[in-house]
């Protein structure tokens, strides 16, 4: 890859301008929440681990929880000149790595996805692509130049656009 990639680690969130590549490696039950303003080409990615900061008041990493992460992402993107009304979202991850998918106590992946969708709906951010669930981990890349996302699974040997 000729361009350098900006890696977004666990519980991190990052915002980039045009011509950059955001990447989140090996997403299992976590969710990669990507927000994008196609006019300013400002893109942000949050590597969310848990649905809500509720009950984790001492944890200061805002990128860790869906509620605080999306809030922070929107704020940071606006500060760089993105227009909140133009934002679209793409989300990926939320897999069920262990146990039964129907067991919602354990299936933190599904709970993460549900929470992310709910927040985006409340914020009236259009969910343009949603590649979530299943029983496999994903690596997600996003190209701020054209708004394209790529998902790959080493386990299944697949790569697809989203």
């Amino acid at each position: 890859m000729e361009k350098s990639e900006v890696t977004v680690g666990l519980a991190e969130l990052k915002v980039v301008g045009k011509s950059e590549i955001l990447v989140a490696y090996a997403i299992g039950s976590c969710v990669a929440v990507i927000l994008y303003d196609s006019r300013s080409k400002i893109a942000g990615l949050a590597h969310v681990m848990l649905p809500s900061k509720n009950g984790f008041s001492e944890d200061s990493k805002e990128g860790k929880f869906a509620d605080t992460a999306i809030e922070a992402l929107v704020k940071e993107m606006k500060a760089l000149g993105a227009d909140e009304k133009r934002l679209i979202a793409k989300i990926a991850g939320g897999a069920c790595m262990f146990g039964k998918e129907t067991d919602t106590d354990i299936n933190v992946g599904q709970r993460n996805v549900d929470k992310v969708r709910e927040i985006l709906k409340n914020k009236k951010i259009y969910l343009k692509a949603d590649d979530t669930g299943g029983r496999y981990a994903r690596t997600v890349r996003f190209f701020s130049q054209n708004g394209k996302g790529i998902i790959s699974s080493a386990k299944l040997g697949i790569t697809k656009e989203f």
């Binding site: 299992g28 039950s29 976590c30 354990i106 933190v108 080493a154």
Partner: protein, 198 residues
């Protein structure tokens, strides 16, 4: 942070557990399996993914939940190539013939991995006198980073440190690197260190 004496105590548990595991594996494959002296690291949970290297590495993992006097999780991890090799050994097929994991491979790897985990938990029980129970193990094959992050978040328990035990299992000229990750919840780690008798 743990002091040297506490670290040594945990090392001892690892060594005894690995020794017993090697004996049990020898019986299982009907060949002499030896084990090297385990290496032990204790790291804060947030550094774990960094410590493990490339998050996209494909591994098999056996996850067991721990209950009873202590609670937490244990993962037994094999890199893909090592796991394929072990599957061949367990089935008695020619080395290199297993290319992917089917249901039978998963079962056999679960069984063998479970012996290792139980050997470790037995050593822990013996040295601490604590009652330690375990759930049925859960097998997964996927990217290491995804497995670790899921295990750390799946039921909102507070794990702060991970005890990582690496040991090589050797059968003639063949070597398999096994990695056991013991993640007691914070109170449980303290309970173990308080109870340990060496």
């Amino acid at each position: 942070m743990l002091n040297e004496q506490q670290k040594d105590a945990l090392k001892e548990v690892g060594s005894i557990g690995a020794g017993h595991a090697a004996t049990a594996l020898s019986q299982l494959v009907d060949k002499k399996v030896l084990v090297t002296v385990p290496r032990l690291e204790i790291i804060p949970i947030e550094q774990m993914t960094q410590f493990m290297g490339d998050p996209e590495n494909l591994v098999t993992a056996l996850k067991t939940n721990i209950l009873g006097d202590i609670s937490g999780k244990i993962l037994f991890i094999l890199e893909r190539e090592n796991a394929l090799f072990v599957a061949d050994m367990l089935k008695g097929t020619e080395l290199g013939s297993t290319k992917t994991f089917n249901e039978i491979d998963e079962k056999m790897l679960t069984q063998a991995g479970n012996i290792l985990v139980m050997a470790y938990l037995n050593a822990l029980t013996r040295l601490t006198g604590l009652a330690i129970l375990s759930s049925q193990p859960d097998f997964v094959f996927d990217m290491m980073g995804a497995i670790l992050s899921t295990v750390c978040t799946e039921d909102g328990i507070n794990i702060e440190q991970a005890v990582i035990i690496d040991a090589d299992f050797v059968e003639e000229s063949n070597k398999v690197k096994g990695r056991l990750i013991f993640m007691p919840v914070q109170d449980s780690l303290k309970a173990i260190l308080d109870a340990i008798k060496i």
